[in-house]
């Protein structure tokens, strides 16, 4: 079983491997807002899954409304950059270019890649929360990330 010190080190390694935006979110958490990061990340998961579903439906239509697809992608781009999910954000930039060109194949490829990148980010974030819980259950404190 990992010691508190080992869990804390894993937590720091995972957190610092995420982008500065995520670390900034951790710095916004305080006694008046103790669950801020969890709430924001939960919002991100909720909104992302809705957007990915909406994108899949929109791209399956007989006549694709590329303006609507672009609107969904724009929203996803904004929220993913707020959370520090840069690879998702960069895929959204490429996706928007395909929307502008009304390139359905390009859009479908982007959607597939964004799904993949989103799963990776979600997995990483869930690991950070799991480690936080394990540290607290073991009687330790959550390390501050510089």
């Amino acid at each position: 079983m990992a010691t508190v010190g080992q869990l804390q080190k894993q937590f720091v390694d995972f957190s610092t491997s995420l982008y500065r935006e995520f670390i900034q979110l951790q710095k916004l958490q305080d006694e008046s807002n103790p669950d801020f990061v969890f709430e924001v990340v939960s919002l991100f998961f909720e909104d992302s899954e809705k957007l990915l579903n909406n994108l899949a439906i929109a791209l399956q239509q007989q006549v694709v409304d590329f303006k609507q697809v672009d609107a969904h992608v724009h929203q996803f781009k904004g929220s993913s950059s707020s959370i520090g999910a840069h690879r998702v954000k960069n895929m959204c930039v490429a996706f928007r270019n395909f929307c502008e060109e009304k390139n359905l194949d390009g859009c479908l490829r982007c959607l597939q890649q964004i799904n993949h990148e989103y799963c990776l980010v979600k997995n990483k974030l869930e690991n950070v929360f799991r480690l936080e819980r394990q540290i607290l259950e073991a009687g330790g404190t959550i390390p501050l990330i510089a």
């Binding site: 979110l25 916004l28 305080d30 801020f36 909104d47 781009k77 904004g78 950059s81 707020s82």
Partner: protein, 128 residues
Amino acid sequence: MEEGKRVCALVVDDDRLSQRVHAALLRKYGILETEVVENGKEAVDLFKSGKTFDLVIMDLEMPVMDGSEATRELREMGVTSMIVGVTACEVEAEKAEFMRAGLDACWDKPLSGSAIIAMLDELAKKLL
């Protein structure tokens, strides 16, 4: 910020995540009174109802009324609040158009702590 002066801010953004993050950033740097609305029309309606804000953080792309149109309308109404645009848009021409609508500054999303500090420094000079 000058002691005794309670600064009020308005966050205008349709993305709930951005709303939470920007409100939390403002609170962290001492802006305790922050309202949040979802589009430019709601922001304009708030000002029309007689409310005032020292600082408005305005997103560009929003449904109903976007940031450019809302900024233009607020300036035409005579609103002199500091209006700072924020956008994830990477097209320079669109950012320039947003500035021309009447912004005091335009920042890339997501806002950082240093961006908030720079904004508040400018606001402090304006309020003196």
